[in-house]
Amino acid sequence: MSSGDADGPPRDSTGRGDPSNRGSHDGGASSVSDDAPTPRERVRRLGRAALLGAVLAGLAVLALVLSGESVQFASENVFALGALVFGFSMLGWSGSVFVGDGIENVQRHLGGNSNWTETGSRQAMAVLGSVGLGGMVGASVVTVVLASVT
């Protein structure tokens, strides 16, 4: 007796969630939820985060200089702090893409469901990365300005 028609399981129950969400069944047209941000909204959100990072870093450099530290010290530490946030978010973003499915599977099969999703993680990391990158740029710009003034 052939059991061929017993093959073809609904594999969405064993791994990557609903495969249709990945556009794998319908010729690549991935479904987008209604509350997903548009590209313009995304750019605006990231821009705002970058601006926030730049302002915070600029203020931090100024505060350190005014508290008696050298411009070089202030610049190096604030830039490094921005780079730390940026590096962490880059790692978090790509890590979410790389092993997001695995983490979701671990949550499903071993309990400890924290509602963590790959998409949510990527969005959060992108915002965090913008803050970090803005901080790096902000620290550099303020340092150049301070160096030309003093």
Binding site: M1, S3, D5, A6, D7, G8, P9, P10, R11, S13, T14, G15, R16, P19, R22, S24, H25, G28, S75, E76, N77, F79, A80, L81, G82, A83, L84, F86, G87, F88, S89, M90, L91, G92, W93, S94, G95, V97, F98, V99, D101, G102, I103, N105, V106, R108, H109, L110, M136, S140, T143
Partner: protein, 337 residues
């Protein structure tokens, strides 16, 4: 059949991972206290000499210039030279000697995890709520909970001290000299045809690999059990059984491959734990791999070695996950469509 497009997409993901790690390490080392120039010059050196070294290393340049230069050199796999550990030796050379040691241990550990974890998980699922299931679950929970710095010495105590079956440390008995080809002693001794040396290398590698693989085995076993239980309850499995197919064939032919999908995803994730565990395992068993190199480099402030080592760890981790993705898309062909 794996599509090229899928593999290329995953390969491109290596770029942000390594870029992120490089940036992260650069930032950490710049925020950490201590002066690399002072490390090189020594504590008694004059300020002038230290400043001269600082200029030579480019540490007096603006930090964004240093960052850009670091990234450019990293792209060319040039991490500079070791300040302290092997003063003046290129980092790539330092890593080339140490990497195979850790890699060998991690690979055998992973192999232990897969070869023992999958069958025990499968058995526990098929014989749900039986004694073997309970034993497997308790074993897995214990394996996940036991830290390496505790299980390592205990296993040394049992197998090396009490029973005397296995050596407590090192990679091969001192009477054997091995011509290094791959840097992995078990493979090199096997290639040289020296069976006695090969046996010695395997005996030396057994305990560290077991210790590092226990956690992996426990996690894989638990995932396999949970995944298999879910698959067993699917309609298509019931259909197969209703058509008169034996339960063993049903499980192995229709269920096993589908149950493997979530298990495969975590094999890649916990390879990172294996590499992290390598630091402790190498210390416990006195094996000079990349893990101990990293710890030593942090202690003496050898920044280029730290940067090179961490980037190598990241590269290995992403490479393993790429392999996992390819396996994954083989198990579930819809993924790379």
């Amino acid at each position: 059949m794996i599509s090229k497009r899928f593999v290329i997409k995953r390969l491109l993901l290596l770029v942000p991972v390594l870029f992120g790690v490089a940036t992260f390490v650069f930032a950490i080392l710049h925020l950490a206290p201590g002066d690399p120039a002072r490390v090189i010059a020594g504590q008694r050196a004059s300020e002038e000499f230290v400043n001269q070294i600082r200029t030579e290393l480019g540490l007096n340049d603006p930090i964004w210039v240093q960052y850009g230069r670091f990234l450019l050199e990293a792209v060319q796999l040039d991490f500079g030279e070791s300040y302290q550990i092997q003063r003046g030796t290129a980092i790539t050379e330092v890593l080339r000697n140490r990497l195979p040691v850790t890699l060998e241990m991690a690979l055998y550990g992973q192999l232990f995890g897969i070869l023992l974890g999958i069958p025990t998980g499968l058995l526990a699922a098929i014989k749900q709520d039986s004694l073997s299931d309970h034993l497997t679950r308790v074993g897995a929970l214990t394996g996940i909970s036991i830290p390496i710095y505790w299980s390592g010495p205990l296993l040394i105590l049992l197998f090396a001290q009490v029973l005397g079956w296995l050596p407590a440390s090192g990679r091969i008995a001192s009477q054997y000299s091995v011509e290094m080809v791959t840097g992995m002693v078990t493979i090199d001794t096997f290639l040289s045809g020296n069976f006695a040396a090969f046996k010695s290398a395997v005996r030396h590698m057994f305990l560290p690999s077991l210790v590092i693989g226990i956690y992996s085995m426990a996690l894989i076993s638990r995932m396999m059990r949970s995944s298999m239980l879910e698959v067993i309850r699917q309609d298509y499995m019931r259909t197969a059984r209703a058509k008169g197919q034996g339960s063993k064939i049903t499980v192995l032919k229709h269920g096993f491959r589908n149950a493997l999908i979530p298990v495969v995803t975590i094999i890649g994730i916990q390879f990172g734990s294996l590499l992290g565990g390598a630091v402790l395992t190498e210390t416990v068993f006195g094996i000079g791999g990349i893990g101990t190199l990293l710890v030593n480099a942090i202690q003496v402030g050898d920044y280029p070695v730290v940067q090179g080592t961490v980037l190598t760890f990241a590269f290995l981790f992403t490479l393993v996950n790429l392999g996992v993705d390819i396996t994954y898309s083989y198990l579930d062909p819809r993924i790379d469509q």
